[in-house]
Symmetry: C2
DNA sequence: GTGTTTCGAAACTTAAGCGTATCGAATACG
DNA sequence: CGTATTCGATACGCTTAAGTTTCGAAACAC
């Protein structure tokens, strides 16, 4: 921190407390180190504040001055993974399903994003606050988007009438997730048409 | 351990070493406590030998006399969950798919069995030996069985020609797993025809 | 300049949990 | 009976990490 990279003047409203300002660079380094380590170790208990401080090149004091414990830091760190929500889509339901599937595949291939789902699925009992936040920020918007898309397909006749929406949603998301889990991440990055193939498979079904 | 419940005479071949025999009841209590705690805490690092000993009503000595470390104990404990392999099935591919789906649903609703999949999916890097054992003992047989069933369906014409078997497998397993994850365990035990509904949904596909 | 606050680094206290060792009591065999 | 081994309980040394405190240096406002 040799140069002047401290937090900006903070506007006219807050009269800027006296003393040395907090380093914005240190804050970013802490968040980045946290996300890197979470992406590697998958599991909150394996994540140590000391490892974060070492990786970020920062003293533990600098961390504890900003966050009072590990969970608070994680909440803020995961919030920066703003997974920009699957973007709005276009004309045909199939095309939109492919767009969503592609987003899921891309996220599932990124270690940082993948760990979010791992935490949401496995740490519910030990970190309910964190999991609830993930659920509201990431899972729920996607669930709602897919539900709306499936319902739209039913009304437009592009999808089967009487479709069981919860099952269909588990169908789409579960297939993508499980495929990545079993076939590995390489498979995703390799074949660029994987999303299309999966969606077409789901649309056609198993029967002839 | 007030009564005589020690290990039986052990046959004529081994001449029975002198001294007090090891308690079979203690061994069972240790395994049970291990599975209970794993099912609750999901995550091997949260599992402590001391907690197992306390839950089993056993001294740590009794554990370390049988297993040299946590992982060895887990390997043996998980091996007792012999999830008796999906039983052989019958005439139509649909019926057999329903049988498998029902087994997966039942397993996914039991905390002890559910944790096996959690470990297999999340602890691969930290406990490769354990995960490899789970993979060979549980995952691989099921994968092979489903693959065979899907292939059979293609040859008999009950399933679509040119079916992508890996995607179809992720389709079946992923749908079941994700449905349980999102809708909760209660949903499984409640509706007894869930397996049929999921399988029929997969067969029919999303399209009209 | 003085005063205030943050910086990174290090030492510190506290708490878990591992794996070992020791203890008296219990349970087998001969 | 004597011997051998296991039993549960407890204490021990060791490691890891949490969270706190102290330190001199640095960065700001005045």
């Amino acid at each position: 921190m040799t140069t002047t990279d401290e937090i900006q003047a903070a506007g006219a409203r807050t009269p800027r407390p006296a003393g040395r300002p907090r380093s914005a660079r240190a804050e970013k380094a802490i968040i980045d180190a946290t996300l890197d380590l979470v992406g590697e170790s998958v599991g909150i208990s394996e994540l140590s504040i000391e490892a974060i401080a070492a990786r970020a090149g920062v003293g533990k004091t600098t961390i504890y001055r900003r966050w009072s414990n590990k969970e608070d830091l994680l909440v803020d760190a995961l919030a920066t993974l703003k997974t920009p929500l699957p973007p709005v889509a276009g004309v045909s339901v199939r095309e939109d399903l492919v767009v969503y599937a592609r987003v899921f595949l891309r996220d599932a291939c990124d270690a940082r994003n993948r760990c979010v789902m791992n935490i949401a699925m496995n740490e519910a009992e030990r970190h309910p606050r964190l999991v609830e936040r993930i659920r509201q920020a990431t899972i729920e918007p996607r669930r709602a988007a897919i539900t709306a898309l499936l319902r739209r397909g039913v009304t437009t006749g592009e999808l089967r009438a009487g479709l069981d929406v919860p099952i269909a949603m588990a169908n789409l998301v579960g297939t993508v997730m499980w495929y990545i889990r079993t076939e590995g991440v390489d498979e995703c990055t390799a074949s660029s048409d994987l999303a299309e193939r999966i969606v077409d498979h789901l649309l056609a079904g198993l029967a002839p």
